[in-house]
C-alpha cells in the first residue's frame, strides 16, 4: 500500500513539474527587430494588406490594444507581455515567423480578461482552448491552432478585442453568425 502511495505521489510531482514553465529567460530569436511604434490607424491599414502576420507585428498590435504605443524592440515587447501574462514564457519567440491562430487567441484571451469554460478554468489558458473559446464567442473564425493568421483576419480580431475591452461586448455586425453577441 505504501509503495502505491509513493508511486502516485511521484507521478503527481512529475506531472505538476512538467506543467511549470522552464526556468530562465525565454528563447527569443531576432530579438533586436524594431517595432516602429506607429499609431494604431496606420498599423491596421498596413496590416490589412499583408498576407500573414509576423510575431513581431502581432505583438506590436497587442501593445497598441493595451494602449502602449512605443518604439521598442521585439525582445523588450516579449518581456513586457510576459510580465503582464499576455504571452506564455514557455513559448519560443521568433520575430519574423508567422503568428499562429492559437498564439493570437491566447494573447487576446489574456488581454481581454475573458472568463473561459471548464477546461480553461481547471487547466488555465492554453492555445488550443483559448482558440476554441474565442471561436465559440464568434471572435475568431474556424481554423486550427497552428494555422497562420492573415493580416485582414488579425485586423478584425484586434477590432473585436478592442470593442470587448472598451464596452464589454462586441457589436453583432462584427462577429461570426452564431457567436455570442
Amino acid at each position: 500500500m505504501r509503495w502505491a502511495t509513493t508511486v502516485v505521489t511521484a507521478l503527481l510531482a512529475v506531472t505538476l513539474a512538467s506543467c511549470q514553465a522552464p526556468p530562465g529567460a525565454p528563447a527569443i530569436a531576432n530579438g533586436q527587430a524594431a517595432l516602429p511604434g506607429t499609431d494604431s490607424a496606420e498599423y491596421l491599414d498596413d496590416l490589412s494588406s499583408q498576407p500573414t502576420v509576423t510575431e513581431a507585428r502581432a505583438l506590436e498590435g497587442i501593445l497598441l490594444l493595451l494602449g502602449q504605443q512605443q518604439k521598442t524592440t521585439f525582445a523588450e515587447a516579449v518581456q513586457l507581455l510576459i510580465e503582464r501574462k499576455i504571452v506564455d514564457a514557455a513559448w519560443d519567440f521568433q520575430a519574423d515567423r508567422a503568428m499562429t491562430r492559437g498564439k493570437a487567441a491566447y494573447m487576446i484571451y489574456q488581454a481581454c480578461n475573458i472568463r473561459g469554460g471548464l477546461m480553461l478554468t481547471l487547466a488555465g489558458p492554453s492555445r488550443r482552448y483559448c482558440l476554441k473559446e474565442l471561436q465559440y464567442r464568434g471572435l475568431m473564425s474556424p481554423g486550427l491552432s497552428y494555422n497562420p493568421v492573415t493580416g485582414m483576419e488579425y485586423v478584425a480580431i484586434l477590432a473585436r478585442a478592442d470593442e470587448l475591452r472598451q464596452t464589454g461586448k462586441v457589436s453583432a455586425v462584427m462577429i461570426r453568425e452564431g457567436g455570442l453577441p
Binding site: Q135, Y136, P142, V155, M174, E177
Partner: protein, 268 residues
C-alpha cells in the same frame, strides 16, 4: 469566315450615339457637389491627402470633406460625419472607408461609400427629398433609403448588416435581400430568422459547412437524423479555408488585388 468577320464587327463597341434634337431639348438633371462635415472625432482618425506623394493627416471636428476622400480610424476611435442632407454616419474603431460620391443629381442626393474593413452606423434622412445611399464592401453592396442601421466588414467573416429602422436592400453577387427594422443578415444572405436560430446553437466549428440555406434550416428544425444522440444540428465536417476572397471582387486599379476603400469607378 463571314460569320467570324460579322462577329468581330458586332463585338466592337458601338460609337457613342449623338443626342437627337428631342433628347437635347430635355433638361438634364443638374449636378451639385455636396460636402461632408466632421462632427466629432475621438481617438486616432486620419484622412488621405492625394497628390504625388499621398499623406495621411489627422481629422478634426469641423473639417469639410468632399468626394474621393479616404478615412481610416485606429483602436479606441470614432468619427461622426454629418452629411449636407442631414444624414449621419458614425465610423467605428479600426475602420477604413471612403467617400466616392456625394452630390445632388436633380432632386436626388447620391451618396456612394466604400468600406474596406471595420464598421459603419448610418442614419439616412429622407425628409429632405429622395436619396440614393449605398455602401459597398469587397463582397456586398448595401442600399439604404430613409433608414438606419449598421454594416460591418471583416476579412475573416465577410460582411454583416443590421437594420435598426426603415428598410435596407443588401446585395451580394447577383442576389439581394430586403431587410426591415430589427432584421440582420450577412454576405451569404442568410435569412434573418435563420441568423436568430443560429444564435441559439453553440458552435465550436463550422458545422454547416457547404450546406445550402434550406439544408441548414432543415437541420436546425429537425436535427441531424441521429435520433436520441442527435442533439447537435449536424455532424461536424471538415474545416474549410476562410469563407470569402479578400479583395478579389473589387479591385479598382487592378494592383495586387488590393481594395482601397472606394467603390469601383464608373467605366469611362
Amino acid at each position: 469566315m463571314l460569320a467570324v468577320a460579322c462577329g468581330r464587327v458586332w463585338a466592337q463597341p458601338a460609337p457613342p450615339a449623338k443626342p437627337g434634337p428631342e433628347e437635347a431639348a430635355k433638361p438634364q438633371p443638374q449636378e451639385q457637389l455636396l460636402t461632408v462635415t466632421i462632427k466629432e472625432v475621438t481617438g486616432t482618425a486620419q484622412r488621405l491627402v492625394p497628390g504625388e506623394k499621398p499623406s495621411w493627416v489627422p481629422l478634426k471636428a469641423g473639417d469639410k470633406l468632399g468626394e474621393q476622400t479616404v478615412i481610416r480610424t485606429g483602436l479606441r476611435s470614432r468619427v461622426v460625419l454629418a452629411f449636407a442632407d442631414s444624414s449621419e454616419l458614425t465610423i467605428a474603431r479600426a475602420t477604413k472607408m471612403g467617400i466616392a460620391e456625394f452630390r445632388k443629381e436633380g432632386p436626388v442626393t447620391k451618396t456612394r461609400l466604400g468600406l474596406k474593413y471595420g464598421s459603419l452606423r448610418a442614419s439616412v434622412e429622407k425628409a429632405r427629398g429622395p436619396n440614393d445611399f449605398t455602401v459597398s464592401t469587397p463582397v456586398a453592396t448595401l442600399a439604404v433609403t430613409g433608414s438606419g442601421g449598421q454594416i460591418g466588414h471583416c476579412g475573416d467573416i465577410g460582411s454583416n448588416v443590421q437594420c435598426s429602422f426603415g428598410g435596407f436592400s443588401f446585395a451580394s453577387g447577383s442576389r439581394s435581400l430586403n431587410l426591415t427594422g430589427g432584421q440582420s443578415t450577412n454576405s451569404r444572405l442568410l435569412m434573418p430568422i435563420l441568423l436568430t436560430q443560429l444564435q441559439s446553437v453553440p458552435q465550436l466549428g463550422d458545422v454547416f459547412n457547404g450546406l445550402t440555406p434550406s439544408e441548414t434550416t432543415s437541420l436546425l428544425n429537425f436535427g441531424g437524423g441521429l435520433g436520441g444522440v442527435g442533439f447537435l444540428p449536424g455532424a461536424p465536417v471538415a474545416i474549410r479555408p476562410p469563407l470569402l476572397p479578400i479583395g478579389g471582387l473589387i479591385c479598382p486599379n487592378g494592383k495586387d488585388g488590393q481594395y482601397d476603400g472606394l467603390p469601383l469607378p464608373p467605366p469611362e
